[in-house]
Amino acid sequence: MDSFIVISLIKAAVVFAALMATLLYLQWVERKVIAHIQVRPGPYRVGPHGLLQPIADVIKLMTKEDLIPPYVNKPLYLAAPFIAMTMALLSISVIPFGPTIEVAGYKTFMQLTDLNIGVLFVLAVSSMGVYGIALAGWSSNNKYALLGGLRSSAQMISYELPLSLAIAAPLLISNTLSLRELVERQAGSILDWNVLHGPFPQILSFLIFLIAGFAETNRVPFDLPEAENELVAGFHVEYSSMKFASFFMAEYANMITVSSMAVLLFLGGWVAPWPARYGSSLVPVAMFAGAGVVALYHGMHPGHRRDRRTLPVFGAAFLAMAAVFLLPAVQAWLLPLFWFCAKTGSVLFTFMWVRGTLPRLRYDQLMGFTWKFLFPVAFANLLATGFLVAWFG
């Protein structure tokens, strides 16, 4: 009993810290990615390659004046960012990052808690997320904010349907609602992942899930609630300081949730693309080593003066990481974690990539797209999967 509580607390602390750090740096990564897509360097001033930029942003936001406009509905105005943030973080608690591990004699899951209705839990929590935005829009007592809130609630209700339907299809194949079992049933090689699984590959529902996920997280090209050029920022126009930051963090946390759900449902979770006996365990080593070598090489021939010191440091760190991955003692939990993070990172990169590529939709296009195209296709896909499962299962 006691050890359970202690382990849970430790795990919660670790996950929370890691999540916060990720949230901080995810924004840096996104700014960098967008910048490179648009052929510009992005943040570069604060710290090497702008690496300290997030810290600076946090300091800036925390020290800013927290302005509460006089005409807002105060309780809800204050509650809205809190709700948004809470709901965004809550779903992380059921997401598994790896298999059972043994640390100092204690066996535990690399997961805060394993629910046998994990998928439903994530759906439930994410469906509550809309309150944050809707209430923020309404309580601000501002027409732009109200419009943003209205748009977001309509959009999120609408896109939840294809999202749920797209989730249902792989669930039919795996026949479980527990996220952990879901991954365990995709174990093996890349061909066992739901996205490519057996007689009924779920490519279609994977794409639908991704598209609906963009909409659920209010990302480009579906970011109408905060369309800055018509609604001057939408639902959070009246927010400043840490409250504003909360909405931002909630959005990124939601992105992470959606990405990890995509990975768990379709891409096999922490399972390597091919079995370790064919050398999949060497992939991270090779990657880190390659990155280290490249960094070292650029450190020898620096583009900037400062890089002469920073790049070799990073190169050395990467090489050290590669070495760590070779240690058998940590391989058991580090490898799954690596694969999970790699896959989630790839999906997150897709998010950024899309943002840097696609223009924003018009509102009627947005609604028409989900109701007239996405929903029927998701439905047809679910039906087909159901029939195939009944036929072959």
Partner: protein, 166 residues
């Protein structure tokens, strides 16, 4: 532990429910109602109804109440107006309510002596598997009927909302 959980969430539920009734602004009522539903979901978990708890949050809190909030925002409904009166409701309402509550409580106490009690984990047949099995065997016809009902409701809602302003 179970008693404490029950008392906490029952308290939240009752307070939120009272708030639903006494708040004059619809959106406050709506948020309070979400609170009631959330705490009820926890109580469902306590009773071993995992699926219903999840459905409660997804369907009620996540869809129906969002729809309410959406409509309130769309109509920009303010605090309710005070005019209009119902003599019957004013005269009979409160006594009847008290009578109803008293009767219900009395019969519950009379019909359910203290012997039967609830303990977390005392009922394990509320999983999605059990629900699904019952839904597609014993309750197949009602299930299909509800799907027709939903379809009709969608059509009806569209027809109603389609009407232009006179």
């Amino acid at each position: 532990m179970d008693v404490i959980l029950f008392l906490i969430f029952a308290m939240i539920a009752v307070v939120c429910a009272i708030n639903v009734v006494v708040q004059t602004h619809p959106i406050s009522s709506a948020i309070s109602l979400v609170g009631v539903m959330g705490s009820l979901a926890v109580l469902y978990l306590l009773l071993g109804a995992e699926f219903i708890a999840a459905a409660q949050v997804i369907v009620y809190a996540g869809a129906i109440m969002v729809l309410f909030v959406f409509v309130i925002m769309l109509l920009n409904a303010g605090a309710e107006s005070k005019h209009g009166r119902s003599l019957v409701a004013q005269l009979l309402g409160a006594p009847l309510l008290v009578a109803l509550l008293g009767l219900l409580a009395y019969f519950v106490e009379r019909l359910y002596p203290r012997g039967v009690s609830v303990r977390f984990g005392g009922f394990t047949h509320g999983t999605p598997l059990d629900i699904g099995r019952a839904l597609f065997t014993t309750y197949l016809l009602p299930f299909e009927a509800t799907s027709i009902l939903i379809l009709i409701a969608i059509v009806g809602a569209i027809v109603l909302a389609w009407k232009e302003i006179d």
